[in-house]
């Protein structure tokens, strides 16, 4: 589904390379985790895939089901089925959460040549999905992320994911700032979306999220590259021994 080859990225403003040859293949129906120390390029990878400004791709390719992601506008990537759950969800004052969701859903449907979802149908679906994430009617009415707690923001990201039904979901440190209960809710939300046609890339510092969202493959990223790939045990090893051993071995 997602195929990244030799991806090199630097900041547009300066010459400092951040990603230095990332190779990654994520097949449909699988969950991949990326772990790694601070500054290893994990978040940059997620932003570059989603199309954020400020980065320059100097080499390599990234495709989603064969389509060149890097040639698309962010909204085209979204319509093609890519979704990024933000580490820091953005506040939009005055815009109701429900309005935002419906605008997003219909923009994607329109881009794919599908009919827009009717108000009634939308309301039914959103209420249903909000319930499983314990998002109440009030939170749906409030302006997007404004005054939301850390946990509410992350649950809201998962609600957007559930509504947009992307093929390729990237979760950027979705566990940061979550207490144990919120982590459980978010993980349940993600697990409910797992199916054979959908893939996940879970970026995290900690093993504990992976107790809830069980990955098929774990990658360790360091210094702009994936330095080690293994099964779920690799995350446990990191938890126990830290990155030092793995990094030393990789050099």
């Amino acid at each position: 589904m997602l195929e990244i080859n030799n991806l090199h990225v630097k900041l547009e403003a300066e010459d400092k390379p951040i990603l230095r040859g990332v190779d990654l293949r994520v097949a449909a129906g699988t969950v991949h985790a990326i772990m790694g120390p601070n500054g290893s390029g994990k978040s940059t990878l997620s932003y570059v895939l989603a199309g954020r400004d400020g980065y320059a791709v100097t080499d390599g390719t990234a495709t989603l089901d064969g389509a060149d992601l890097l040639a698309m506008e962010p909204e085209e990537r979204a319509a093609a089925g890519l979704f990024l759950a933000f580490q820091y969800p953005v506040e939009i004052p005055g815009v109701g959460n429900m309005t935002f969701l419906r605008t997003a859903v219909n923009a994607q449907r329109k881009a794919r040549g599908q009919e827009e979802m009717s108000a009634g149908e939308f309301l039914k679906v959103v209420r249903d999905r909000a319930r499983t994430l314990k998002i109440d009617a009030d939170m749906l009415k409030r302006p997007v992320n404004v005054g939301f707690s850390g946990g509410e923001k992350k649950r809201n990201e998962i609600l957007q994911m559930a509504m947009l039904e992307p093929k390729m979901c990237i979760l950027d440190e979705t566990d940061s700032g979550l207490d144990v209960d919120a982590m459980k809710l978010v993980s349940d939300g993600v697990n409910a979306l797992r199916d054979a046609g959908r893939a996940f890339l879970v970026i995290t510092h900690y093993q504990r999220l992976l107790d809830h969202i069980r990955p098929d493959v774990v990658h360790i990223m360091a210094d702009g590259r994936i330095v080690k790939t293994g099964g779920p045990d690799l995350a446990l090893e990191v938890e126990k021994n830290g990155y030092a051993g793995i990094l030393a071995e990789a050099v």
Binding site: G94, V95, M98, A104
Partner: protein
């Protein structure tokens, strides 16, 4: 004067109506109303002098007192200087190079009913989306039990071309007609109130208007009557080099209520056109008037060529105790906007509210705000202003809050938010506050923020294109004010907000 930059996010209530973006997309396209109608016109000779004033008066079939009133205004105006204190830059206006009177030839003999109106005129209004014919006025609102009806007065260049629902309004005792007609048919009311809120001597543009106003709307709501429908006037400048000088007079007697809507459009022209209107509202004891404007005059092109110069004096006099006025304005058009709808809170316990969205894009300049003059005891005022600047535009909020010595226990709350899009524009806030008693309270809050890249990226990563993302963010910013508009107007305004900001990003 304070020029604000950086800072707080304005406080917001909950979300924009769900239809926002659909409507916006449906209406996408540059200035939609830029065509002209090819209709044979009668013009007065170019320029302004006493003879032109006499001619206008004569064409309107006015009584002698009206002519004298105009002439007095003209003589005063001829000695006045154009004010230049606003934060607006424009070349000198040659007042002798304008036409002060233009009307479609077919209107020479006043039509007796809408059926006699030139079909081309009706077609013009149909094209503007204004349903002039009564049966078309049944503007059904989805979900509403009863379709809402709006009575319309349409003013084309200098003259009113037809007012709908007159008979039904008359049954309720409401008078809604062209002001030219009111001068002839209801002289006692016009003489009593004309110039009583905005005197001839008020300011350069109001004095000019007093001399040469050609038409406009007249509304009289008798005591105790709640106007059975919304009243609406659409102004259209069509002829080239023509100024439009409309005059609106609204009188709400004791305990009455009316909601009045005003919409404006003009064709695209390379030359600037002058618009100097006066609106006077008189509100007696316990009466309430809501006045909503969507001003969408042609703003000029991206380089500032053409566009309407909009110099408007609007004022409501809350003469009666417990009287109330609410101004809502959505200002998206005009090359230059100079406009300060004001409230004179004369009656004890009277209330004035001003809600404004002012958008300036490309080379547009807006200097707009309000005046709240508290004269009576326990008077209250509220100002919510949302200014949006994009392109190279300059947008100034200028507002006065004045608490007079006798206005004991009065309150004002002002919230003034500016939103900047891009690097080349400016937002300015100029509040004047005068408090001359010890028991009144004035609060002023101001914020300036930018549409930031993170917000746009967030929206786009969810599938919205850039323009939809800007429209969503901006509509969120102006939400508080949109909520105060009647529903159909709010929809139109939301769409206009998006259209007027097209091309402001990227």
């Amino acid at each position: 004067m304070t020029v604000l930059d950086g800072g707080l996010q304005p406080e917001m209530r909950d979300g924009v109506d769900r239809e926002t973006i659909e409507t916006v997309q449906a209406m996408a396209g540059k200035y939609k109303y830029g065509w002209q109608t090819d209709i044979e016109m009668d013009f007065a000779p170019r320029g302004l002098n006493e003879d032109i004033v006499r001619l206008i008066s004569d064409k309107n079939g006015e009584p002698a007192w009206m002519l004298e009133w105009r002439l007095a205004a003209y003589r005063r105006w001829a000695r006045m200087e154009e004010p230049r204190w606003a934060m607006l830059t424009y070349p000198e206006i040659d007042y002798q190079d304008q036409f002060y009177y233009a009307r479609p030839k077919s209107m020479a003999g006043k039509p007796k009913s809408l059926d006699e109106v030139d079909p081309k005129l009706l077609a013009t209004y149909a094209k503007l989306g204004i349903p002039l014919k009564e049966q078309m006025l049944l503007a059904g609102v989805e979900g509403a039990d009863e379709p809402r009806r709006v009575a319309v007065d349409a003013v084309f260049d200098s003259v009113s071309v037809g007012t709908t629902f007159k008979a039904e309004l008359a049954k309720a005792g409401v008078i809604f007609c062209a002001i030219s007609e009111a001068v002839r048919e209801h002289p006692e009311l016009v003489r009593k109130y004309l110039g009583s809120v905005v005197p001839q001597s008020d300011n350069f543009f109001a004095t000019l208007n007093s001399a040469v106003f050609t038409d406009g709307s007249f509304v009289f709501i008798p005591a105790g009557v709640r106007c059975p429908m919304e009243l609406s006037t659409y102004f259209r400048i069509n002829a080239e080099n023509t100024g439009q000088f409309e005059r609106t007079l609204i009188i709400a007697e004791q305990g009455s209520y009316v909601s009045y809507l005003e919409g404006c459009t003009a064709p695209k022209r390379d030359t600037h056109q002058l618009h100097a209107a006066v609106v006077e509202i008189v509100i007696l004891d316990d009466a309430e008037v809501k006045y909503s404007t969507v001003q969408n005059w042609y703003p000029g092109d991206e380089n500032g060529k053409g566009g309407i110069y909009n110099f408007v004096t609007k004022r409501a006099d809350c003469r009666g105790a417990r009287s109330k006025v609410m101004w809502t304005q959505v200002e998206t058009g005009s090359a230059i906007t100079w406009k300060y709808p004001s409230c004179i809170l004369r009656g004890d316990d009277s209330q004035g509210e001003f809600y404004s969205i002012a958008i300036a894009n490309n080379a547009q300049q807006a200097d707009t705000g309000t005046k709240m003059v508290h004269l009576g005891k326990n008077t209250k005022s509220r100002i919510v202003s949302k200014g949006i600047s994009a392109g190279r535009a300059q947008n100034t909020y200028r507002g006065l809050v004045s608490m007079h010595p006798k206005a004991a226990n009065s309150r004002n709350y002002t919230q003034c938010d500016s939103l900047l899009i891009g690097q080349g524009c400016g937002a300015h806030t100029v509040p004047y506050i005068e408090v001359k008693n010890n028991s009144s309270r004035v609060e002023h809050e101001a914020t300036t923020s930018k549409v930031d890249d993170d917000q746009l990226f967030y929206c786009r990563s969810r599938g919205m294109d850039e323009e939809a993302a800007v429209a969503l963010v901006v509509n969120g910013f102006v939400k508080d004010v949109l909520q105060t508009l009647p529903m159909e107007f709010a929809m139109e305004a939301q769409a206009l907000v998006a259209i007027s900001l097209e091309g402001s990003v990227g």
